[in-house]
């Protein structure tokens, strides 16, 4: 099935495809509709809302939702758009003034999902981010999750992984996670923020008015911590998870300004679950595959956009966490600009004033977030030689460091780091840090030939129709060395 193709007799309205139904994608859809475009929105989730408004009608505790009225307004205008949920986009191309997205639609990872092809004049990529959880010895034990997973399970399913949880990492996101865990019924033994007072003060204290909006939410979380008697400790973190078959406790240590554990400060705490989150890393693969330029260093690479949220690729716009980690308000503002411009609107339009102002303020906020909570290089000193870094392929710190002088592709092939089912999504930034520290030149965990898991059987079946077979063939020829099969068929 192909949708979005201009049929005979239809108006010449611009066709805008939007990939992602989180705050950025929803705001983009609303703005593109307001500018008169025909909009098709796709998201792999079963429901719209992305990470921020992740919900289930019956299972979500309303106390865990923020800005719900805004969500309902955004969702409300979508009856004028074509919306596909449960739609995993696995291929995206831009050429000759047209954008083509290919998706499979149906229950997650089911066999025999239906194929969907969307063609548009412009696309807004709003694929968001996922947690960046740094490895610690023992982090593969059952009971250890990312902070985002703890949040998603509490919000979406109304469950917590354990009864006694430690939250550890960096950034303000640890606060809502602790609150959600407490509301969902777990005891949060402590929240450990790696950054020290100096870094936090430098990041947060100058120009506090920039926090307007965000400040209210933060104050609410701090209040929740106090109400639930959850200690918040800065300059400390989980440096080892203890247990044989599952989490039995953790070792907490004080961290110096570079996040190196300070010898002699270690103490053990009993718990049955750990939520780790050291920030977020963007989901770049769709943007890269569409030809959009990426910029940054090991600490973070993002899609490059201009004032109109335009990427370096014709017809491709980007919004939300893939352009920088700034939270939901930033994503909403960027989405509105991207959708409006993709639909052929103008930045001078009065309707753009609000979003442009919010975007300016939230970009400053994002810079302060990075200054206060950005990953410091000393974290690698809490790894042991035999600590598993690549969870899929069981590759240790030592193995990666030993091959650090090889070009990254050769290093990946020799060690298998990043070649497993997740295609380096979980370990990529950590592997790069270890390679850099061992004197190598890390680069290139971002390119992923298959954008979402799709079964080889499904791809073959799609190949019976319009040219998808060629794409499938191209994937298997180009990227054999990248072990595409692992991504294409979750279990080899």
């Amino acid at each position: 099935m192909t949708v979005g193709g201009a049929g005979a007799g239809e108006s010449a309205a611009r066709r805008v495809a939007i990939l992602g139904g989180g705050p950025a994608g929803l705001a983009a859809a609303q703005a593109a509709l307001a500018a008169g475009a025909r909009v098709t929105l796709l998201d792999e989730g079963g429901r719209l809302g992305g990470q921020y408004w992740r919900h289930h009608e019956q299972l979500t505790d309303r106390r865990l939702q923020h800005g719900w009225a805004r969500f309902e307004r955004l969702r409300g205008v979508l009856d004028r758009a074509e919306v596909h949920t449960g739609a995993s986009v696995w291929s995206a191309e831009a050429s000759d003034g047209a954008v083509r997205l290919r998706a499979v639609v149906g229950p997650a990872d089911a066999a025999g999902r239906t194929a969907l092809e969307v063609e548009a004049d412009a696309v807004v990529v709003a694929t968001g981010a996922h947690d960046l959880a740094l490895p610690v010895p023992g982090w593969t034990l059952p009971g250890v999750t990312t902070a985002g997973a703890a949040q998603a399970l509490a919000k979406r399913d109304g469950v917590t992984v354990g009864r006694r949880t430690i939250v550890s990492g960096a950034g303000p996101f640890l606060l809502p996670v602790a609150q959600s865990l407490a509301i969902a019924g777990a005891e949060v033994v402590g929240v450990h923020e790696a950054s020290r007072l100096g870094g936090l003060a430098a990041g947060w204290l100058p120009r506090p008015w920039q926090l307007a909006g965000k400040a209210g939410e933060l104050v609410e979380y701090v209040g929740a911590l106090a109400r639930h008697r959850i200690p918040y400790r800065i300059g400390s973190g989980v440096v080892r998870v203890l247990g044989t078959d599952r989490v039995e406790g953790v070792v907490i240590a004080a961290l110096d300004a570079e996040w190196r554990p300070i010898p002699g400060t270690e103490r053990e705490i009993a718990c049955d679950s750990v939520a780790l989150g050291h920030g977020f890393t963007p989901r770049l693969e769709v943007a890269i595959s569409l030809g959009a330029a990426i910029e940054g260093d090991r600490r973070g690479r993002f899609v490059v956009v201009d004032d109109a949220q335009r990427t370096s690729a014709a017809g491709v716009y980007a919004a939300g966490e893939i352009t920088g980690i700034g939270g939901a308000d930033a994503a909403l503002a960027e989405g509105a600009v991207a959708g409006f411009m993709a639909a052929g609107g103008s930045l001078d339009d009065d309707r753009m004033r609000g979003p442009l102002a919010v975007r300016r303020r939230m970009r400053a906020f994002a810079a302060r977030l990075e200054r206060a909570h950005g990953i410091r290089p000393g974290w690698t000193s809490w790894l042991a030689d035999d600590t598993v870094v690549c969870r899929c392929e069981n590759v240790t710190r030592r193995t990666i460091a030993d091959r650090a002088d090889a070009p990254l592709r050769a290093m990946k092939l020799a060690t298998r780091a990043g070649l497993g089912a997740c295609q380096g999504r979980t370990c990529g930034r950590a592997v790069e840090a270890i390679v850099a520290e061992a004197g190598g030149a890390p680069e290139g965990f971002d390119r992923r030939p298959v954008l979402a898991p799709v079964r080889l059987g499904e791809v073959a079946a799609l190949g019976q129709g319009n040219g998808v077979g060629a794409a499938a063939a191209a994937i298997s020829i180009d990227d054999r060395a990248e072990s595409t099969v692992a991504a294409a068929e979750p279990r080899q």
């Binding site: 593969t140 997973a149 469950v159 599952r246 979980t426």
Partner: protein, 80 residues
């Protein structure tokens, strides 16, 4: 209420929960065997593939992404 089986053992969950949600709600934290030992949920949003199970005979289903349906047969996956 929905009922699924996990390695032939019956488990009850709430309507609309993911398979991971049902398993965790039933007190389980691990349901896949990997090189380093057992694994369950890690990322919770479909990116890490640590939570894979076989559902109704189809392998490689992310338990954190798939909504459980009454009667689903879930099996553990072992990757040596």
């Amino acid at each position: 209420m929905i009922r699924i089986t996990v390695d032939a053992e019956p488990l009850e969950g709430r309507d609309g929960q993911t398979i991971a949600g049902v398993l965790i709600g039933a007190g389980r934290t691990a349901w896949r065997t990997a090189h380093t030992g057992d694994r369950g949920v890690f990322c919770g949003i479909g990116v890490c593939h640590d939570c894979l199970v076989t559902v109704n005979g189809v392998e490689g289903v992310r338990a954190c992404q798939r909504e459980a349906v009454d009667g689903d047969r879930v099996e553990r996956e072992v990757r040596a």
